[in-house]
Structures are given as C-alpha cells and as structure tokens.
Symmetry: D5
Subunit: 149 residues, 10 copies
C-alpha cells in the first residue's frame, strides 16, 4: 500500500512471530494485555512498560535488548491519506457513511463533545454465525465534553 | 466542515426533528429500527422501505409526500477526504493508528478477507462510568473471505 | 480564502456586531465567558447554553429566536487543508516546525499521551512591549495518557 | 507517520540522548536555552550558535565535530500535509476549530496583521491538577502590522 | 509510475517467470487457478494456500522456501491515487464516466447494495475480431444488500 | 458524495423517470440501446443521435425540446478524485488491487497496448445464484496496440 | 481559475473601475498609495483606513457606504493550491526553481531567518527594452531573525 | 522539508563550499555571474557552460570531472506542492495574497501576457535599515504578450 | 467534470452559437483568426481586440454590449488538477508519458530552455485516413533559452 | 522534480549516451525510428522489438544483455500530479488553457470521441525563425468515436 513503511523493529518482530508460530492471542496470554493493543505496540502505535516490552520480546524468542525500542513513545499513524487496503478502507468508508449519523446520536446522548481516541480501548471478536461468521469490533472511549472558559 | 453539504431533504427533516423535539431514540421506538440507522436514512446514507419511510416522516410530523425521497438509493459518503470535525476525525485517527493492528488480528482469526461494511450494523451506547461516561461503539460486519477462482 | 464558507447565522451575527460596534471583549463582559470561546460560538465552532446564547444574541441587539441556533452542536473545522490566510497559516507553520519538538518534550514530562483539544482553553492576550507589542496565546489542555487494555 | 523522515544527525543525537539518559530539561540547564528550542535544534528546525551547539553536543557526550551541523540554517517543516500523529494533530485541529475566532480577536486587539512565528517563543509547562494534569503551551509572537506602501 | 513500488518477492517471481519463459496461462494450467488470480498472488494482492503457493513457486523453478511468503495476507492496493499508466488509467476512467450509470442500473436490478470486490472473480479474455481484437473483462461479484438494523 | 453535481437536465430526466415509473430496461426496450449506455446519456456521459434522444425523452413523457441537450458532446467524468460511494468505490478498489495483474495478463495476451475505454461497451447483468445473486459486469474494449513511429 | 471566487465588493469595484475607465495608477495618484497595494485592498487582501477607503470609493464614483467594507481585516489568500493562471503560476514556478537558491543566499547574507511578507512592499514596474519590455518586480521585506529563547 | 531531496552532486558541492568557507558572493566574484544564479546551478536548477562549470568547481576546490554534471539541463523544481520551510513559504504566501493584484496591474501596464520566468533574472540584496535590515528581491522578466493566430 | 465552471458569458455565447448553427470554422472565416484561438476567447482563456470581439459577437447574432467582456484579460485555466474528461485527459497522459522524452529532445536541439506557451499557436486539423481519420495537433511555441545573469 | 525517479536501465542508457556523445537524432538514424519514440523507449515509456532494442543498445556501445529490458511492457507515466519542471509544465498549462477549446473544435470536426494517445505519434521539430527559433510539436492520433451499444 503506498505510504505504509514499517519500522525495522516491526519487521523483526513480525518475522520472529511468524517463524515461531506465535499468534496474537498467544501474546495476549503471555503479556496479560489485549491482542489488539499488543499488535499496536508491535506496529509502533503504542508504547509498552518495561515489563510488558520484555514479555512481548521474550514470547517471540528475541533478546531483551530490543525491548527498550517498544517503550519509546512512537510517532503514530501508519497509513496514507486514503487507505488502499480493502480491510482498512472499510473503516474509512464507515466514517464516510456513518460519521454524521454517529455524531448526531452521540451529541443527543451526551451533549457537545467527542469520544476519546486516547482513553480508548478496541476489541476484535469473532462472532460465529451459521450464515457466515461476523467480525465484531467494540470501541469504548471516554466521552470528553467540550470545556467552556 | 469544508466538503459537507447536506441534501435539502436532510435539512428539512432535521429542522422538523428539532422543532418537534423528537429524539433519535424516539424515532427508534416509532420505527422499530436502530437510531443510528434512522439517522443514516435521514442523512441520505441509507434507504428505507415505504413503511419505514412513512413512519419516520410521520414521527416528525411531516407530510407523506416526502417519504419517497427516503426510499431512493442515495449516493453515499458525506465528508471531505480528511474530516475536520473532531468527533468524526477520531474515527479517522483510530483507522490511522489501529488499522494495521486490527488487520493482523482479523487475518489471524479469520484468514484473508475483510469485515463487510454493507452486511454491517453499528450501535452507539452510553456506558455510565463514575470516572466519566464512555461512548461504546459496537460494529458487527460479516466476515467476507477472499474468493479464489 | 478558498474553502472557508461561513454559515448564514455567523454572517448575521458578525454584521450585527459590526453595526452595533460591539467588541469581543464587550461580549466577554456581557456573557461572562472568554472572548475566544464566544467568537468560537459565533463561528459555529462551539455550542452555547440557552443562557449564554441569549446573552450573546441580546448583546448584539438581535431577536432571541436566533439563540437556539447557537445551542446546536456544530460540525466543526472551518478552513481548507492548508490555510492561505497568513495569520492562520502561522499556526500551521508552528505545528510544522515545532510539532516534533513539542511532542518530545510533552512525552518527557508526561509520558505517552496527548494534550486534549476538547478539555481545552485558549486565551489571546496583548503583551505590550516597547520593541513591538506581542501576541500571547495560552493553551491549556488536559493531558490524556494512552489507556492500555 | 508518513512524510516524516528524520535527518541522520537528529537520529544520532536522539540515540545518544536516550543512551545517556539526558532529558530535555537537563539540556535546558546545560545550554541555558529553553528545552523546546533545544529540541527544535536537534530536530533541525532551528540553528544554534557555535557555543550552543558545542554545549548540546557535549551534554550528549558526542564529539565536537558534530556541532557544526547544528549551526547550519535548516530546511524547516517536518511533517506531512495533515499530521497523523494524534499529539501533533491536535494542534492542526486547534487551528481548524479556533483559527477564525483567534484571527478576529487578534484583529480587534491589534488591527490588521499577524503573530510572528519567527520572532516567537513557545513554552511547554506541566500544570498539576487534581482532576488530571494539564499541558500548558505559551506562545508569544511579535505582532506584525501589515505595512502599507 | 510514481507510487508503485513492488515487493522484493514480486520482483523475484517476475524475473524467474521471464527467465524461464513461463506465461500466466502456463501458471493457470499448473496451479488450476485463473491467471489473473495467480498474477494477483505474485503481485501480493492475494494470498495462496500452501499447495497453491508451492505449485506457483515450482512452476517458476524457485525453491520452496519462498512459498510461505505467498501465503501471507498482504497489504493490498498497488497504485497511486490516480494511476498514470494508460492501461490502468482506463479502468479509472470507466469508473469516472460509467460509475453513476452502473450504480443506477445495479440499484434498479438489485435494490440498495453493492457488488462485492471480495466475493469476486475477474477474467480477462481475448476476443478475436477482424476489425481489431478486443479485450473482454468479466467481473462477477456477489450482490451485497445493505443490512438494516 | 462531495464532488458530484448533476446537471439540471439529468435531474429533470431522473425525476420524470421516477414519476413515470419507467425503468432503465424499459428505456432499453424503447430506444434499442443498452440500459447502461442510456443511463450514461442521461447522466451526460454519452451523446445520443437525434432519434435516440427523442426516444428517450418521449419514453419519459417529456417535451422534445429537451432532446437536443442529450445530443451535445458532454464534458465527461462525474466523480471526485476518490469516490466515497461504496458501490462506485469498489471499482476503484478493483483497479487498485487487480490493476497490475490485469495489465500483465493483457500484455501477455496482446502485447504492449491498452483496452480502449472509447471503442468500448459495458453490460450489467444479474446472475441468479442460490448462495446470493451476483452482479456480472462485462466490459469489451478494442485492444489498441501502441503505434511506433 | 478553479478555486478563485471574488467577493461581491471586489466585483462591484472592478466593474465600476472598468465602467469609469479609471486605471490603477489613477487610483495611486488619487489615494497616495502604491497601485499594487490599492489593488490588494480591492481584492480584499489588505485593509484600508477610513480615509484611504473613502478615496478609493470616491475615485470609482461609488457611494461612501461601501467604504467600510474595505476597512475590515480580510481573510487573505485568493487562489487554489497550485494556480492555473499562467501569469500567477510563474511566481509559483519561481518559488519552485529559485526557492532553495534564494534561501541559501539570504541565510548567507543575514543568518537564519526570513523575509517578512507582512512588513513588506511590492512594486511592479515597466522596464522599457528594445528587445522587449520587461516586468520588474521589487519586493522589500524586513529581515526577521529567528528568536532564540 | 518533505518532498525535497537534493541530488548527490548538490550535496557534494555544498559540503565542499562549507568546508572551504567559500561564500556565494565569493563564487559570484570567481565566476562572473550572480550568486543566485550560481546557487541555482549548484542546486541543479540551471545549467552552466563548460567555462562556468569549471570555475565553480575550481573555486570549491573540487576536481574538474564534476564540472560536466553542472552542464546538463536539469529537471527543475525542488519543493513539495506547498513548501513547509518558512522562508520559502513566504513566496508562496506572496503569490496567494498579491497574485491577483499583480496580475491586474501587469495587464494594465502591458496588456494580456505574462512575465517570463525563463528570460528572467532575480537578485537578492541586503538593504540596511536602522529599524531592521530588509531583504530586497528584484525580479526582471521579459513581458511576453499572448500571440494571436 | 468536477472543477469546471464556465463563466456566464461563455454559456451565453455557446448557446447562441448552437442556436444559430454557427461552427467554429464559420467563426474563423468571419473573424480572420484560427478557430482554436476563437474558442479560447469564448471560453475566456484569451482576450480579443475590440474589432475581433465585435466580429465574434456579431457572427453569433448577439448585441455589441457583450463584446467588451471578451476584451478583458481573463483568469486562465479551466480544469481541475487532473482532468476527468477523456479527450482532455489524453493531453495529460501525453505529458505524463512523453514529457521527459520531449524534454530531452528539445534540450538536445535547442539547449536549456522551454517552448513558450504564450508566444504560441495551436492548430487542430482533420487528417483523412482510410484506416480511420486522425486528429492532428500542431503546436508552435517560441523557444525561450534560460537567461543567465 | 519531486516524484520522478528514473529506472536503473534509463540512467545507464543516458550515461552511456552522454559518454559516447550519441545524440537522439544519431539514434534515429541508427534505429530507423523517430527520436522521440526512442527517447520514450529509453525512459521506459515504450517497448521495443528485439531488433530495435538491439540497435539502440549497440548504438550506445552497451552489451546486448540489456536489450531485453527495453522489450518489456513498462508501467508508464513518469511525473508527479502537477509537473514542476518548466518545460514539462508548459504542456500541463496548454491542457489547462486550451483543453476545452480543443475539445469543442475536435467534437465539431469529428463528433463525440477522442484523439487516441496510443495510436499516436509525436514529432519535435526545430523551426528556424529570425525572431527566435520555434519548437514545433506535431501530434497525430487516430480519432476514436464513442461506440454505442
């Protein structure tokens, strides 16, 4: 995808993950954090504590010297202006199509403000369904009301 | 926000909604559909059946002649390339920051494919929390595996 | 400036403000809120309570029927992708030049997270100086640490 | 973040800073200049005098031969058109949302002109607050009135 | 073409294909899959099963260790925002010129929904014609009706 | 969708078509041309002969004075740079994902050249399928070999 | 030129100027300011004092009630991202081609800093030349050295 | 600055220039051409004759084999669409703010046509001023009237 | 085509031209100028003398009061960044594909410089050919060598 | 120019061409094809037959093993969205200014359709002229009428 260039550390971790056959849910079990968050650490979109970083690196069978790289506060945001990967694009499309409806419903329920993307969690679940399994994404972000001054 | 221009029908419905003091959850009760979906119909991002359209229009105290406009298949997508509204932008940011991590986790759980944005539902809930209420967004999209041929 | 189109209500309020010779600091005194925030309400970048809206409208000598428009949660963000107005562009330039330095200093002082632009205030002050008066901008935003999950 | 590529010298200095455990406020003490400005020198967004450059390099335990690179007038501006990093983006958002209100208030206080981003200082402070610490950003730029001719 | 950078694995496979004089239709025969899909695997726009990957690699006379790279779920989308290659651009042009007409005809035949680009096949055929051979492209995508909720 | 503005004549024809309950396949029968081509004429992406224009206008119950507008050579291309409508976007996605594979297969079958988008036809068919109906798109464009000189 | 939309007041003044046959140098004589600056006022890129505004309006034979519009601090910047008008584009080209050379020469003569575009004048002169007259543009902007803090 | 990548030859010449402590005005004296033009040759925005190239290379103490690289007709234009460097940006801003006023004044003085950016010279001078030195830029371009045919 | 908005005067002239059944080559005969240039005047991309304007207006059967609008120096450039109309796009494609080859050949024949687009003529001819008629475009622009100074 | 990156083979051929002092018209004589087309092959914008490729490579004194690279069907289009090189930009400008006039004249002479950029030749000639030599560009493209179906 034009515009995505993974950091060296990310490539190294993903290669080790593949070579060792470790899944993200294995990492979830080993680290005690959600797999999406761990993936975000690996993609350098989130920063880990020393303990978390060590656990991730260990679980992937890599030397502890790499751990510190996962503790740095990364420059975040991976993609190009409009993503070309179909899986990622669907989130862009959801924002384009349902952005205003969500906005209105949130304002009605909470008043003027936003859903935080920082005090925020996101889970990905598999919903088995005879008509075809479903991807369930659960986002939970603190409502932040606009401050007046 | 530069790039957003609402259709006339949307403005008329929102004005009626405000004037009559009808909330989206009132509409949910009246129509028997989720409030986000109804908001999507009003913003001309989704199309209603005749019965649904009539219920929406009636609930807003408008004449039934408007109903047919809500039944047309709209040209979808409301916003500019990168949204400037902070609430909507946070979804863009989530895609930028968590897009690749989600992609990897979905592929691990389901194989190569995507979460449909068409066979798709989205709910907005208020999660009460003493440390500050939270916005909960639940997306559920059918997993579509890539077809080989 | 290409890309800026003011809402009708904003034009009406600014015209009344000019015609009546009311300054933003007059509005500050009349409403009991900071002048920048009041300007943001007028430009439909912030929403007022009924009391605040009424005070603004009254101070500008306009009928109270307009007040409700100032209470709606606006679609925010006024400008084009890159602003062409020199005064506004300087803020873009500051972000381009000092963005990374600020980021590093904030991370060092606070850890991984951001300065909120929602739980946020901004003041504009005139600093008299014999070598040329200075514009002082004071931003204060709550630090939001990244949540882990 | 797509579009940000740090110069070699910046990477070398940041690595040394991390390895030696030197903070920006240590550098502030060692150099006698504000930490944001020093960070700007390191990110090659500002140029140092020979004395300042030598102090920075020494404080990071690096050889003096690097110092001259910090004295060159850099090509400034680090980021992409619209920043994807959430911390930096918030400044873009502030410009989008509060740009016009600030513009009007500045014009009212000073007349037609701008806040200089060159004869300009910026400070980042930590404001302790029981409800959550706050990031305080203080900008001070000389007001430059438009010359007529 | 600005914006297209092929992965190393793609370059290696295309070089082997050229060196060995293997055509895409040879690959079609060897793998038992359509040549366009196989080309998509080689360009890392689709993922193969172990058996398919091995067959592709073998047919190109390369070692099996490369096969696993073809099984990974790729980040998809090769080109720049607007393609400059004339052959690829024509598809962009078809979308620009016939996009709305197709949309209307699809809606009339199927209702509100889309043609899936995931549950999707595409064939390229040569139509011999005395007035000049023709390229025939046959797309077949599952119709996905918008879900209501 | 930002960037799409239909010509007045298009709006008038579509409104008449809806009011009269005429389908595109009714028009196909009345005009003796494919429904996609007729839709392209109505969207002002193709030009009709006098006879064709008259038949279209008559079938929609409109006065013949409008017919001449359908005979003019239109400025073609309806959408924004990247379409936001999901149905139209899928064609953009197909170009992003399958553009290079198609290019290679076409070159292998035909040599260096392109599929014409002018000496070109496109059909939309409904493929009934118990697992879900399918949209079938058949494009046929003359192969144009690059001329050497 | 796409992206340029003149304000109503500008159109009115230019029409009056044309109708009355007043040239910019006539205005220069009438107002006692440079013709480029006066043109900038008319295009709403600069703000006039009451006296200047009145002189401009009078010279164009228009009523004084328009004068106040020329006194407002305008939102500046007229054109699209990249200008299409050949005369204006040449200035963009000069920046593209000579931007870095000028930057280096300015830094060598003045140190790190910029030429102000606010404390700035610009003159347009006709240089008669037997080989073809020449356009002479003289810019004079205060050098602003970067402040350190 | 994103988008600026200097050619190898430019880096080599600038490094030699810095190492030897040669200024652009030294080069002006050595070559007998204006320093801005010489800087343009070094940045590969202009092409030198063999004699000029040799003089430049000699003055920088480099071997004559490099000279021929300065004689090639370069692909010109260094920067990104909108420059981020503040010094260069000011020229973009001048074009945005004063582009239309200059256009009108030029047309009034010369008729329809442009100032050539090819038959063109540009000088940078230092204007000493007790209130702060000024940067003076003098452009002189041949007026090219539009040909009619 | 998104981004093209014709001036009122252009629409009026084109409507008159169509109503009266006057072709561009009729106008060529009536005005004594090439039809492309006349079309450029009508599209407000070129300016006419009083005599030429009057002839154009007369030939279209319109009142002489319109003539003066054709004498003004227009803001030139009609289209969006990348044209979507297939006929116009082909010129963009020719520039993309043959731009560098033409550049090299011109430099070899003429030295460093450009083909003027101002001292420039363009003719469109029909070349009859049994294998299909051809469009012949002949451009002739003065070579402008780069001035040194 | 940002966005142009030449393939390795192109750089090698251009270097050999320069080293050997071979001109494009020498190549024209040696290959029996037009120099612009040969330059297009070298820039990898066109594909040669084995015989043509061998002649080109031989004329440049390079080994025949390179020839096959010139026979591959290239990914075409060299430049950025809007070219910054002044010579190439003029073709963009011609398209912006004369695009619509050419379109109308072509439609009038030929009906609805386009000039092919594939069944297309382009010649560059030097027109000697005492008032300054002229660059003559002759394009000849087959007219392709829109097919109806």
């Amino acid at each position: 995808m034009p515009g995505i260039e993974l950091p060296e550390i990310t490539k190294k971790l993903l290669a080790a993950k593949e070579a060792k056959g470790v899944s993200f849910s294995d990492l979830e079990a080993a680290v005690g954090r959600d797999e999406v968050w761990i993936a975000a650490v690996i993609y350098r979109q989130a920063s880990a504590s020393e303990e978390e970083a060590t656990k991730i690196v260990n679980a992937l069978g890599l030397g502890g010297d790499i751990a510190s790289e996962l503790m740095a506060c990364p420059v975040k945001g991976l993609g190009p202006l409009v993503p070309t990967d179909p899986l990622i694009y669907r989130f862009y499309e959801i924002m384009q199509v349902y952005g205003m409806p969500i906005k209105d419903v949130v304002h009605e329920k909470f008043g003027d403000g936003i859903m935080s993307a920082i005090d925020f969690t996101i889970d990905v679940e598999k919903e088995e369904d005879p008509k075809g399994d479903r991807v369930k994404i659960i986002m939970s972000g603190k409502f932040l009301p606009y401050k007046k001054w």
